[in-house]
Amino acid sequence: MKKLLNKIDDVVVESLAGLAASHPTLVRLHPSVKAVLRADAPRVKVAVISGGGSGHEPLHGGYVGYGMLDAACPGEVFTSPTPDQMYEAAKAVEGGKGVLFIVKNYTGDVMNFQMAADMLAGEGVNVAQVVIDDDVAVQDSLYTAGRRGVGGTVLAEKIVGAKAEAGGSLEEVKALCEKVNSRVRSMGMALTPCTVPAAGKPTFSLAEDEMEIGIGIHGEPGRERMKLKPAGQIVEMMAKAIVDDLPFKPGDEVLAFVNGMGGTPQMELFLVFNDLAAYLRDRGLVIARSLVGNYITSLEMQGFSITLLKLDEELKVLWDAPVETAGLRWGR
């Protein structure tokens, strides 16, 4: 295992310290639990809070700031955070208009956030939760833990954050988050696995000519292993699964998001976007907004995911609204 670190047990806290040191006007760290807080919180707005295992940077700590999250609670690498983190973070940033938890759909995340919500509700804090489950690689049935929350989470945090910044009520912000989740679909693939620092070896192994389709963001293997194909064919396979699922229809305006898993060069991500644009054009879909880069990653994994969000006027306006975070910034 080759990693830039000092002590394996300290990677998460040292990385958080670096985030705070590089963005002192934007964020601060909670004094007692692992949580990234907006520097100017609490403010009189709905507090939007997310969290989950570490290793997906810039998600979520990199999205704390103006127009996005009020707090992020990172667990250990690929491990859900614990309820006390969400509880303390909420206490620190809540400004009287309630708290929205944006939760990625993983058993651990859902349970830990639920416990924190129970603790806060017990103290009279108004808490709502929305579970993001946009990964079409997973069969959504009674016989699974349900679809995972992946790339759609980034878009939801941006859009919902803009609404909260604009003064939306907890009900409105929650409803908007559910709306985003209902209109967003994703799928991922990997060329290489990644290594959890504490584990010291790769989470799975792939032959030199193999790829894994349908991977999640936790180094967990996907739904199918196959021979490596040209980028255009991979994109088509993934985009088709996404487009058919909602379904997206000709004429629909979409936000097209090509996300790197952490170790993929930007050159390849743009190449993939080019194939995606061609595919969507053929299906009659209109790319009205786009995002290309490393936004929700799996450590140093090589691979990418595609996320499509069906836009409307409301979503476009909120997407374009100013945002200032370590990971996403425009308009200020």
Binding site: G75, E76, F78, T82, P83, A199, T203
Partner: protein, 212 residues
């Protein structure tokens, strides 16, 4: 023979040791069908538990298990954190005020703990989770208790049942937790959580027997 506060403290300490020893093994199981952290998570949690318990003085079993549950809850994370946290907290409620547990009260407490896990995680038997190891163990304990078995003998049967339940997870297709994402490909691998459950119970037994 009963399980008293000192016995419980010693058992928890031994469980921590066992999980430390099996950290890589559990993580390896989790890397086959999960995200390669179960051993790391459990070890981190029980490391904190041992720190916590060694700093306290306890006179009742409930207090011991409450601290175990709270500490696991705030240090394990993942799916296993709230599940094992709930398990020990629910047990602690049943054993609150007791200075020692006999077969029957341990069986009741574990049954209550199992209920907590099921209420939270909604797993059914054969979903390929820790529930597959814990359910037969609790049933064996209750049966032994009904038969008036001594604690060690009762636990012996519970551990055997947990082991069988753990081993039986191997051919199953997962329907809960991260492993469920793999669908059919999850078959052929033993569930990490069922394995940690077995390790916890078998270490409880060993620790108890050593004290005799």
């Amino acid at each position: 023979m009963t399980l008293d506060v000192q016995g419980m403290l010693k058992a928890i300490d031994a469980i921590g040791e066992t999980l430390e020893m099996h950290k890589d093994y559990l993580t390896e199981l989790d890397s086959a069908i999960g995200d390669a952290d179960h051993g790391i998570n459990m070890n981190r949690g029980f490391h904190k538990v041992r720190e916590k318990l060694s700093a306290g003085t306890y006179v009742d079993l409930g207090a011991v298990l409450k601290d175990v549950g709270m500490t696991l809850m705030s240090s394990v994370g993942g799916a296993a954190g709230p599940l094992y946290g709930t398990f020990f907290m629910r047990m602690s409620m049943k054993l609150a005020g007791l200075q020692a547990a006999d077969t029957s009260s341990l069986a009741e407490a574990m049954e209550e703990g199992l209920k907590g896990i099921v209420a939270l995680g909604k797993a059914q038997l054969e979903d390929k989770t820790m529930v597959d190891a814990l359910t037969p163990a609790v049933e064996a304990l209750k049966k032994a208790s009904g038969n008036g078995a001594a604690l060690a003998a009762a636990l012996e049967s519970a551990v055997a049942a947990a082991r069988a339940g753990m081993e039986a997870t191997t051919p199953l297709v997962a329907r809960k937790g991260r492993a469920s994402y793999l669908g059919e490909r999850s078959a052929g691998h033993q569930d990490p959580g069922a394995t940690s459950t077995y390790l916890i119970l078998s270490t409880l037994l060993t620790s108890l027997k050593e004290r005799v």
